[in-house]
Amino acid sequence: MGPEPVIRFDNVGMRYGRGPEILRDLSFDLPRGSFQFLTGPSGAGKTSLLRLIYLAAKPSRGLISYFGRDAATLPRNELPDLRRRVGVVFQEFRLLGHMNVFDNVALPLRVAGRKRQDYAEDVAELLSWVGLGEKMNALPATLSGGEQQRVAIARAVVSQPEVLIADEPTGNVDPEMGMRLLRLFAELNKLGTTIIIATHDLQLVRMLDAPVMTLANGHLHIRPPRSERLRMQEAAAAEAEADRIAAAPAAAAPRSSVEPETPDPDEDGERDD
């Protein structure tokens, strides 16, 4: 048994009201400390899937467990505690317009009941680290899109969540800023944070050697990271070579062969490793 995944989906389906199922039969694990991208065409259900992951929506069917807790049997009063362990950067930022940058970033700490004097220094340090040290008293409406994005990111990471979810975090910034933000996420991942980034930007995806979850028609495909695909390709090639040398006609379908571009997300095989 490996370490418990932070989030596990088991045959999860989701629909809004009586509408069609937007997500169908999703089964996957988010291992602790992992980094993955989530892509897919618009309307494929990326945002719905993220909403499930950050506990803003309930699945219509199937099982989701957060940090080993089954969502279906979770008492309502334990949700806030779980939500505090998940940081979210929303596509549209969702900053509170009547509060200044400092108060926006400090919100998760304040909501958790921490005293201002205990966190004020940390928040100021984080803000100066994302380059907003001089704008702590500014209202979000006076900031540029990129600055608002950094406020949203600072708010998502300020309480050091175990999982960080970012929905199109580079959608509103130029490519250079997008790269800088991606490096920030990679840095956080090195410190142990599990990260999911939803993006349309394939260039961004290619910059990191990370698994890519692709949603299409409500179904999820998981493509292993490039390095693993290469390793598997090599393994497959080596096995084929061995088979060829042995010339044994029975070994027609090697078990570990994976086509590079259309992988089979064989989740159940990996789960209990």
Binding site: Y54, L55, A56, A57, K58, R76, N77, L79, P80, D81, L82, R83, R84, V88, R94, L95, L96, G97, H98, M99, N100, F102, D103, A106, L107, P108, R110, V111, A112, R116, A120, E121, V123, A124, E125, L127, S128, G133, E134, M136, N137, R155
Partner: protein
């Protein structure tokens, strides 16, 4: 290489709920009017109770002996004799025979003055004042009067006293009922407003929720806001109610008209009532806002 870390902004935390000053004003006015009406109802019920107490004390500390005119007897002498007899009964403070003039005066409103023939037989009245709290033996007095051969009837006003008490009880029940209705209306209005305020601020609520805010934290924000609103409208309503009751007192309404009018009886009860109105209004607002918001939040995940 690293910039010096700037100092965090001084001062307190920013408000988590955005101020919606303009939106709250109509609600403030409605709540102030409700508190005003509630104070008037409470003062009115109190006034009715005080008035009824005065009246019943008056009625219960007096008896009336009626001397009927009988052919062949001098009614005036009989009345004087009855007063004498009544005066000697234990518990009686004074007994005064009212003469024929008094009886005529009582009839004047109906028959006019000077229209009565002098020989018209009129019943005479004897006013008996009793010491308060002492039960006069009416049956014994009646027996004494009968033994003297006086054609008399004693009225202890109990019929009237119980009618006044019933009326006062009705007025009080009405006052309490009005208070309950107004409190209910206030609670409903506040709950409605709290829901609307919550719905208008769903963005903030969502942000707070996803940052891990507990329901009671969010409900607490609305609770504080509506407590302050209830408190302020309570102060305004109570001040107006106090002014109105002072004006009614200055207007010098006749005592019989003052039943159920809010009157400044210049006792501490009024002050306590008016002072507690804002606090009660604040608590009503806070509780109904909290319950409304909490039940709405429970509907979300």
């Amino acid at each position: 290489m690293t910039n010096p870390i700037p100092k965090p902004p001084s001062g307190g935390n920013g408000r988590l709920l955005p101020p919606d000053a303009g939106r709250d004003r109509p609600l403030f006015i409605v709540a102030a009017i409700l508190v005003f009406l509630a104070c008037i109802a409470a003062l009115g019920a109190r006034g009715a109770w005080l008035q009824a107490q005065n009246w019943t004390t008056d009625l219960e500390s007096s008896l009336t002996i009626q001397i009927r005119p009988v052919e062949g007897r001098d009614t005036d002498t009989d009345a004087a004799r009855a007063a004498e007899l009544a005066g000697s009964v234990a518990g009686v403070e004074s007994a005064t025979s009212r003469g024929r003039d008094h009886a005529m005066a009582l009839l004047a409103p109906w028959l006019g003055e000077g229209n009565l023939p002098d020989d018209l037989p009129l019943p005479l009245l004897v006013d008996v004042r009793t010491r308060s709290g002492v039960q006069v033996d009416i049956a014994a007095l009646q027996a004494q009067l009968d033994a003297e051969g006086l054609a008399s009837r004693i009225d202890d006003h109990s019929r009237w006293a119980s009618a006044v008490r019933r009326a006062a009880g009705t007025a009080q029940a009405l006052g309490v009922g009005l208070l309950a209705l107004l409190a209910g209306a206030a609670a409903a209005v506040i709950a409605f407003a709290a829901r609307a305020s919550l719905a208008a601020r769903l963005d903030v609520i969502d942000a707070l929720h996803l940052c891990g805010a507990e329901d009671r934290f969010i409900a607490g924000l609305f609770q504080r806001r509506f407590f302050m609103l209830g408190l302020k409208s309570g102060v305004a309503g109570a001040i107006f109610a106090g002014l109105v009751s002072l004006l009614v007192g200055l207007g010098d309404a006749p005592a019989d008209m003052a039943f159920f009018l809010p009157q400044w009886a210049s006792d501490p009860f009024e002050l306590v009532l008016l002072a507690s109105a804002p606090i009660l209004a604040g608590l009503t607002a806070a509780i109904s806002a909290r319950l409304a918001v909490a039940s709405d939040l429970r509907g979300r995940w």
